[in-house]
Structures are given as C-alpha cells and as structure tokens.
Amino acid sequence: MTSVDYNSLGFDEDATPRFDSPASVRDRLGEVQYLSNDAISSVVYLADRLRKPILVEGPAGTGKTQLAKSVAEITGARLIRLQCYEGLDEGKALYEWNYRKQLLRIQAGQSGDAAPVTAESWHNLEEDIFSEEFLLTRPLLEAIRAEDPVVLLIDEIDRVELETEALLLEILSEFQVSIPELGTVKATQFPLVFLTSNNTRELSEALKRRCLFLHIGYPELDREQAIIQARVPGITTELAEQVARLVGALRTIELKKAPSVSETIDWARTLVLLGRESIDAESAKETLHILLKYQTDIERANRELLSVVK
C-alpha cells in the first residue's frame, strides 16, 4: 500500500533519485543562494520521490518562481517555462498543427501532377501532413519529449480559466500527452514540475488532488535576515537585521499589500546604495515607497510605526 508502482508510469524504475534527503535539498538550494525551510525542502524531496508535481502557492514576491529556477540550477536541468494567462489554450500550451505548412504541402501536391485524388493518395497525404514535421511543440509537450533533464514551470496557473486547467491533468498525473493523430507521447524521464499560483481564484479539486501542495508565506525573521544577507552583497549584519525586523513589523499592520521578500531585497539594496549603516525613522520614511506600493499603506505605516513619540 505504501509503495507506488512506478512501472505504470513508464519510467525507468532504477532512475536515481535526485536528492538523498530533505536536508540535502536544503543544503544544495543554499549553495545557489536560495534559503529554504523545512517545508520547502521536504516537499521538493518528496516530489522527486513520489513523482508528483508541486503546486506552490503564496503571496506575490515570496520566491515561488525562484524556487523552480533554483531547483533547475542545482539539478543541472533545463527550465521550461509556461507562463499562463487568460485565454491560454491547447495550441499555446501543448501543441499545434502548423496549418500554413500543411496547406502549402497540400497545394504543392496538387499543382505538381494533376493526377486524380485517389483514396490511397489521400491517405498518404493525410499521414504525411499529420506527422511530426508539421507539429509545433509548445512548452508542455516539449517538457514531455525532452531527452535531457528538465524542470517544468507552469507559472501563475490561477490566471487560466477553470476549463483550461483540464488540459494539464493528463500531463500532471500520467506525464503523457495524447495527440489524436499521432497517438500518445510518454515522458521518457520524469520532469520535476512546479505550478505556481497567486491564489486569485480557487483551483479545481482535480488539479489540487494531483499535486503536492506547498504554501510559501513570508519568511521568519531569521530566515528573512539570512535571505537579505545572501541576496544583497555588501550589507552589514546589523542593517540586514534591522531591515528584517522593520519589514516583519510592517507585515503585522493591516495593509492592502504587505511588503514582499523581493521588495524587501530591493529596499535593502537601496539602503546599501545610499550608504546607510542603520535605519532610523527618517530614512525609513524617505524610502518607504520602495516597500509599499499604495499611498494609503504608506500613510498608515507612517502613522502606526514610524511616527516618533516624543
């Protein structure tokens, strides 16, 4: 009951797992300056072992996309990215027949010799124009057919319509694509798959069931400080700590848009560029617009956190 029959997925059963333990995931991610936590490293490790896609959810700018990139980097895999948007369809995500080329092929066949169209010649033609030569592969099919190791990133899945999600289901559970004219294309190796979502809408149960779920929230104080130090060269420990603490405090205020990790890093960079050694209320006020993007938020932060009580 506890073991899954991998043969049914058509992969090489002996394929070496990518990671030895959650700890090794964490260490190797750390080497490429991605500081993970227990949840992140465990889920990445499990995704590899269980051969399941990871659905990463969380507020914007907490490193969801970066996680996929960093995992690709440490496993030496090629990153194939599918950016989702409203109106994304099969033709853009999976594959498409090259209509124009097919038309050309048909016309070329007609003009060359004016022989009458027989059942056989039509059959040949049909077989010809529905061959791989006329197939335009899109990211999902490309990831399935890749011979080299790949990491597939399906970014902002919540932007596509509910109906379009269904396109992904076959890939996510069976790692195969069915093309009516060609048959089923199966993956020869198991690609690590990351789906990211900003949670602007509910994803379908069917999709969620097929994935491991990982929520990346705002980091703890220590981790954020470490992230700042890793990502902002030349920052002092003191300043990094102050930045992390101030941002942490800002997140406790009810804001329209809490500062994200990427905004925090931008802010820390700015402070370093300005040659600040430490932050006081004044310098924080001056540069607050980098952290907060709404005027009402800036006002509220000023009022509740930065106004100095004498």
């Binding site: 499990l46 409203e86 956190l305 100095v308």
Partner: protein, 480 residues
C-alpha cells in the same frame, strides 16, 4: 503508523477538510520515503499531501499536534521504536515534571519549582528565545498552576487561562520589554522601540503556544486523541457563524474577507466575459480566414453585453447583527464593479445612506470603520426598529427604486415589538426587480420571540439564511 494516519485523516475530514482517498494514499506513500523521527519533515510531508489550501493549515496544525505530538512512551504505541529519537526531549524534561505517566494527574507530579524559580526561568527563556527552555517553563507552569483534573470535561482554554494568569504573563511581558530596552540601549518611543515591542509580542505569543501545546498534550493523555480532537476542533473560517463569532474569530474572518472578495470578483468578471458568446462576428471571421486561404478555420464571435444589476443594500447595524452587516457591505462593495450601481443604507431605528463612505476610499475596511463612527442611524433609543427605518427609507429614497434594482435587506428582523410596516417591502417588491432578505439567524429561530421575518417574507423573492461567509459568498455570487 498507518492506523494512526487513518485516524488522522478521519479527524481532518471531521474538521471539514476535503481529503480524498488519493490524497490519503499519497500521504502513506510519502511516509515511506521519509524518516519518521523528524517531526518537521513528517509534518511537511503530511501537509503537502493532505492539505491543499492555506486556510486549512490552522485546522491541520491543531489536529497534527493532537495526533502526533504526544510521543511519550506508552505501551499501546507500536511505532515507538521508530520514534525513539523523539523522546530525547522527554528524557531532558523528566527531572522537572516527574515521570510522564503521572503528569496527567494534574499539578501533583513533581513540580518542584517554586513560582519564583519559575518566573526566573521564564525570563531567561524569553530573553534567549530558546525553544527547549521555553518548553520546560511551559511544563513547569502547567504542572504548577493549571490544576488539571483527570476526566474533567472542560476545554483546554480554561486551563490555559489559569496557567497564564498565574504565570503573570502581562507582567513578564512588561519586564521583558524593560530589560531588553536596557540591554540594547533603546530609547522609549524610538523606531527601535517599536520593533522591540513587536519582538516581545512575538515571544509572548510563542510562550502561549508552548503552554497551549503542553496542556493539549496532557489532555490527550487523559482523554485520548479522538475525544480531544473532537473537543478542540474549530470550524474553518468560512464556516464560522458570524453572529456568534468570538473576537479572535472575527479577526480571522476579516483576514479572509479580502482574498475572498477578490476571488469572487475575478470569478464573476470571468463569468461575465466567457459566460455567453455573442453572435458570429462575420467581419472578424473573414479577416481571420485570409491567413488560411479563405477557409474560416477560426470563427470569431461578438462580445456579449450582459446587463448589470443595480444593487441597493439596506442593512441593520444594531449590536446583534453588526458584524454580519459589515461583512456583507464589504463584500458587496468589493465587487461593485460587477454591478452598474451600488447604494448602501444602514439603520438601527433611523436610516442613513452610506454610499459616500465607500466612494471616498478604495479601501472597504476604512469605509466600514467610518460607517460605525459617522453614520446617523439612531432616531430614538438605538434599538432596532425595522418599521420606522423602512418607512423613512420609503419616504426619502423610495422613488429611486426601479425595475433594474435588486434590493437586499440584511437583518434578523428582531423588531423589539415595534410595528413591522411590511407594506413598504410590498411596495418595494412591486417596483424592484428582486427583493431579497438575508437573515443571519439559523432558520429554526425565525419567527420566534420578537422576530417578524415572516411578516416581510411573503413580499420578498427570497429569504435566505446567511450565517457564514461561505453562504454569503454563494449568495452574492449568484446575484451578479
């Protein structure tokens, strides 16, 4: 271990999490790949396979604490060999709390720490932020102060309150702030001081968590997992009964309201765009077909032009239903782009239009706050009077209701035995497209005591029981 997992999954389902069979199997498979000694990994693995929504983490955490936290050696646990390492911590605690088996018997079990020692230990635990030290303090404090009695069917909250009060947590927090200020040379009132306060608050929060965990652990020993899980189970945020929500629950509700309304707006906007296709757009289709040699492979359709309703919300904001009215106003205005016009009125015994507060700001939270402070809704005594409020509405704004308008009336219709003036609703229903009444009370209570909802019901297109955010969301979603 698999039995334990099954019990855990059952508990999650009882708590309202939709855990499917596949997910259960995934969790079992995941457990075969990780070392079970590492609790954080185990927790992450179970969370990743069983929980698929952030809002459900709280319920998951609680259930996990109950099912997997108390790994004290007990004969009925088959997997102790696997989980042996976990007990390293227990060994360390033993001198403080006495043997694990005795602890359930409350207070007696070897709490050889005096309150003074405990207070000292607490301070050093808080200053250093050392988790194991904090745990020790929690154990000492619970043994000493909680006065737990086996078999007593009270919830953990009571013990928590007793422990924290006796531990003098507020005093400790003040002292901690003082000490940290001195240590770091922070001036009172400066920016650093603000940050320090935030830090202290987090530390205290952590202490409370530790105490809570300790209490829960002992309750499990006393009563068993399933029983405790049942008694500590809390409803998911969207299922909380708004009228009877506690302060903490209201905070929770407010937090999920914003993402909820955003999601609803996105969903409705999509529905509007993709719901019905318009007719064939011949010009566009022909234009498109040029690139395929005049074969119309890709037909184009005209954009549909659906009608948007006009919404008038009339909300009772007297004490009993105030929070419900606020949530509804928030939600309706957050998705106001889905309606051609939204007008809001609030009343207690007088009535006032509050649309202007929402127009003035793009932040519904702020508008709702201003309603509480600025709206003029008291006419006589500040007790709900639906009759007077509705009559005034009819006099002042009644003419503005036309066949495009959908009227929502929110309230429990507990009228303090005033006149109902139901004819106003009747007149409204004749002019408006729809009149709906949203009642935050359970259906069973309708019409009992001074509730006169049935007086109005006969003129409304529907009276809807709307006790939780989920019900509210469903209704508003249907409306647009």
């Amino acid at each position: 271990m698999l039995d334990l997992l099954s019990g855990f999954v059952v508990e999650l389902r009882n708590a309202g999490l939709p855990v499917s069979l596949t997910e259960h199997l995934d969790a079992a498979a995941a457990m075969s790949h990780i070392s079970l000694e590492e609790r954080t990994t185990l927790k992450a693995a179970l969370a990743a396979t069983l929980v698929k929504e952030e809002e459900h983490y709280a319920a998951f955490d609680l259930a996990f604490e109950v099912f997997f936290a108390m790994r004290d050696p007990a004969p009925e646990d088959l997997d102790d060999a696997d989980l042996g390492l976990e007990n390293g911590e227990t060994a360390q605690q033993t001198p403080l709390t006495g043997s694990g088996q005795q602890r359930g018997s409350g207070g007696g079990g070897g709490s050889d720490l005096t309150p003074e020692e405990l207070a000292k230990l607490l301070m050093s635990a808080l200053v250093s932020g050392d988790a194991s030290l904090l745990k020790m303090v929690a154990q000492g404090a619970v043994s000493r102060f909680a006065g737990m009695e086996p078999g007593r069917p009270v919830g953990g909250t009571y013990y928590l309150y007793r422990t924290l009060r006796n531990l003098d947590v507020d005093g400790a927090s003040a002292r901690l702030l003082e000490q940290l200020r001195d240590d770091r040379g922070v001036l009172e009132g400066s920016l650093d001081d603000r940050l320090l306060q935030a830090e202290v608050a987090t530390k205290i929060e952590r202490l409370k968590k530790a105490v809570e965990a300790e209490i829960r652990k002992r309750l499990v020993e006393d009563r068993g997992k399933e029983a405790l899980a049942k008694s500590v189970r809390k409803p998911l945020p969207e299922d909380i009964d708004v009228m009877h929500a506690t302060k903490d629950e209201l905070v929770q509700l407010r937090r999920i309201l914003q993402p909820l309304s955003r999601k609803l707006a996105v969903r409705l906007a999509r529905k509007r765009r993709h719901g019905k296709r318009g007719g064939l757009d011949v010009r566009q289709t022909v234009r498109k077909s040029l690139s395929t040699g005049g074969v119309p492979i890709d037909p184009r359709f005209k954009k549909p032009r659906p009608s948007k309703p006009e919404i008038v919300v009339i909300a009772d904001i007297s004490g009993s239903v105030a929070s419900f009215a606020r949530f509804t106003l928030h939600l309706v205005h957050a998705i106001s782009s889905q309606f051609s016009k939204v007008r809001s009125f609030v009343f207690i015994d007088g009535i006032d239009e509050v649309t202007r507060f929402f127009d003035a700001t793009d932040d519904p939270t702020e508008a709702v706050y201003r309603i509480n402070t600025e709206a003029d809704v008291v006419y006589l005594d500040g007790h709900s009077d639906y009759g007077h409020a509705l009559r005034t509405f009819d006099e002042r704004w009644g003419k503005e209701i036309n066949q495009k308008t959908t009227v929502l009336i929110l309230g429990d219709a507990r009228n303090n035995y005033h006149a109902s003036e139901a004819w106003v609703v009747k007149a409204m229903a004749e002019r408006a497209r729809h009149v709906y009444w949203l009642n935050p009370e359970p259906r069973d209570y309708w019409g009992s005591g001074d509730s006169i909802v049935f007086d109005y019901a006969s003129y409304c297109d529907g009276v809807i029981e709307c006790r939780t955010l989920r019900q509210l969301e469903d209704f508003v979603g249907e409306l647009a």
